[in-house]
């Protein structure tokens, strides 16, 4: 088999493999519809009702508005956390002593659910965007800080020695050795953290603001037990979470980032 044939084969294989989850989802939707029609207690709206609810949201222009509101908060919270936590974590990790001093404190803050900060967030920022952004920030800050710290610590000594050997200034060293050496780990961490941010925004919107997908879910229930809208909100949250993850994953495709210490 030539390389081209192999490639063609793997491409058609991957098309089939890619269709597999779609087929699986369609089967589950069909089962869901059947189950709902046989059990009309209204414990769960059927898929068709959910589709209609999404259509209704689109018609009122609410879907786009709420999605944008949620993404806005996630973007700010995540970006602020990344901009602060990554340089700080890299610095702390580089100096062994500062790492030993800071590590226990970070480990105390890390297991506190970002949701536990809700009362304080509202006290400090009032009900509104700032409170939600702050909660997302808290949820993203500690995981990113820890990853940056350990990423620096795990740089093989050889890379650092080569950098020193070629006579680089500190700025050059950071840009040409330190930063590329920690990039793959930071990208993985960002992907996971983005997932956390998306979880937190929904919870934050249920309490701290009156727009966004989290608000939609609470509001649909409070304003008239519209469970079709509740599930529609859930579906939209899931789909956008998937898209965010795909977006973050596409960063990993750059070949200069496609390496890991293990395969070296």
């Amino acid at each position: 088999m030539t390389a081209i044939e192999r490639e063609n084969k793997s491409r058609s294989m991957s098309l089939l493999t890619r269709l597999r989850p779609v087929v699986f989802i369609l089967v589950l939707l069909a089962l869901w519809q059947i189950a709902v029609s046989r059990h009309p207690d209204q414990l769960l709206p059927g898929p068709w009702a959910v589709v209609k609810a999404i259509g209704e949201l689109l018609q009122h222009g609410l879907l786009l508005k709420y999605v944008v509101a949620s993404l806005f908060r996630v973007t700010w919270g995540f970006a602020l956390a990344a901009v602060l936590a990554i340089p700080l974590g890299l610095t702390i990790g580089w100096y062994r002593r500062s790492e030993m001093a800071v590590y226990p404190l970070v480990q105390i803050f890390r297991p506190i659910s970002p949701l536990a900060w809700i009362p304080l967030a509202i006290l400090w920022f009032g009900v509104g965007d700032f409170a939600a952004i702050f909660l997302i920030f808290v949820g993203c800050f500690f995981p990113l800080l820890l990853t940056a710290m350990s990423a620096v610590r795990n740089i093989p000594a050889v890379y650092i020695n080569v950098g020193r050997n070629f006579g680089m200034s500190t700025a050059e060293f950071i840009y040409r050795v330190l930063y590329p050496a920690v990039m793959p780990q930071l990208i993985v961490a960002s992907r996971i953290t983005m997932g956390i941010a998306w979880l937190v925004v929904v919870a934050a919107e249920m309490i701290a603001v009156n727009s966004g997908l989290g608000f939609l879910i609470v509001d649909a229930r409070n304003a008239g037990n519209r469970y079709d809208l509740v599930v529609a909100g859930m579906v939209v949250i899931g789909v956008i979470g998937l898209l965010l993850d795909l977006g973050m994953r596409s960063l990993e495709r750059f070949q200069s980032l496609q390496w890991s210490y293990s395969e070296e």
Binding site: N165, S256, W259
Partner: protein, 261 residues
């Protein structure tokens, strides 16, 4: 680029001088003497191999020469200047992982050339790609290179900054035996065209006798220089000639002694 210093004419003695060098590691209060009273003179353009039992401090010796460590006793000087830290005029080539996985072959060779103009850098890269025979792999990442290619790449990156000394720390130690043989030939060819001073740490007796002008035999830890053997055979060396075998046996017996001391 480092500023050019006045170099003594090729072949003159005393490129690198080690005088009464000793090294003691002190880690968490555990004191380990590693090197003891090392005296060595390397002349410009010379190829010196360092052999010795594993763990005896060969790599420590190279790290001292390269300025990555400071000796706890004695002094090391190059061209009359005391070594005080790593310097792009002397490049250390590592056994593994020495090339940057996030840079292509071109990017790795150009790593130390950022201060050159673009045209000059490209010309330098092209020259060294050719020298280590990596043509056609300029845009390949190290994960797609074989072990031997990675080591050639590391040597090319080192040579590209025009160093006067190359320190090689068991550079072929992680390669299979056939690749290792090929790499020895390549290194000799490069040394003969580029004429740098080379200090080559190895645990392989054949490698030392095939390549070096002189072989320094270290004892077990704390290492002293047990013996220095001059290999008086011209290149290319016939590895089944009587003189070669004689020198090889001599070196082996000296290492044997070194092991028992």
């Amino acid at each position: 680029m480092a500023t050019e210093t006045l170099k003594p004419p090729p072949g003159s003695p005393g490129k690198l001088r080690m005088e009464h060098v000793s090294m003691v590691f002190d880690r968490d209060g555990k004191v380990t003497p590693v090197l003891d009273d090392i005296n060595l003179n390397v002349s410009d353009g010379e190829f010196v191999a360092v052999v010795g039992p594993s763990g005896c401090g060969k790599s420590t010796l190279l790290n001292l020469m390269g300025g990555f460590l400071s000796p706890t006793g004695g002094s090391i000087s190059i061209d009359g200047q005391t070594v005080s830290g790593p310097d792009p005029r002397r490049i250390l080539v590592f056994q593994e992982r020495g090339v940057f996985p996030w840079l292509t072959v071109e990017g790795n060779i150009g790593f130390g050339l950022s201060k050159l103009s673009r045209a000059e850098r490209e010309q330098r890269i092209a020259h060294y790609v050719q020298l280590v025979r990596l043509q056609g792999f300029e845009h390949t990442y190290p994960s797609d290179l074989s072990g031997g290619m990675k080591q050639r790449l590391q040597v090319a990156r080192a040579l590209a900054v025009n160093p006067d000394i190359l320190y090689l720390d068991e550079p072929f130690g992680a390669l299979d035996s056939v690749t290792r043989l090929i790499m020895r030939g390549e290194l000799l060819r490069i040394w003969q065209t580029e004429r740098r001073t080379i200090i080559f740490v190895t645990h392989d007796v054949d490698e030392a006798v095939q390549l070096a002008d002189r072989v320094v035999v270290l004892s077990s830890r704390p290492a002293k220089i047990e013996n220095i053997l001059t290999i008086d055979i011209a290149h290319p060396r016939n590895i089944s000639s009587p003189r070669y075998l004689q020198l090889r046996d001599e070196l082996l017996s000296k290492i044997g002694l070194a092991y028992t001391v």
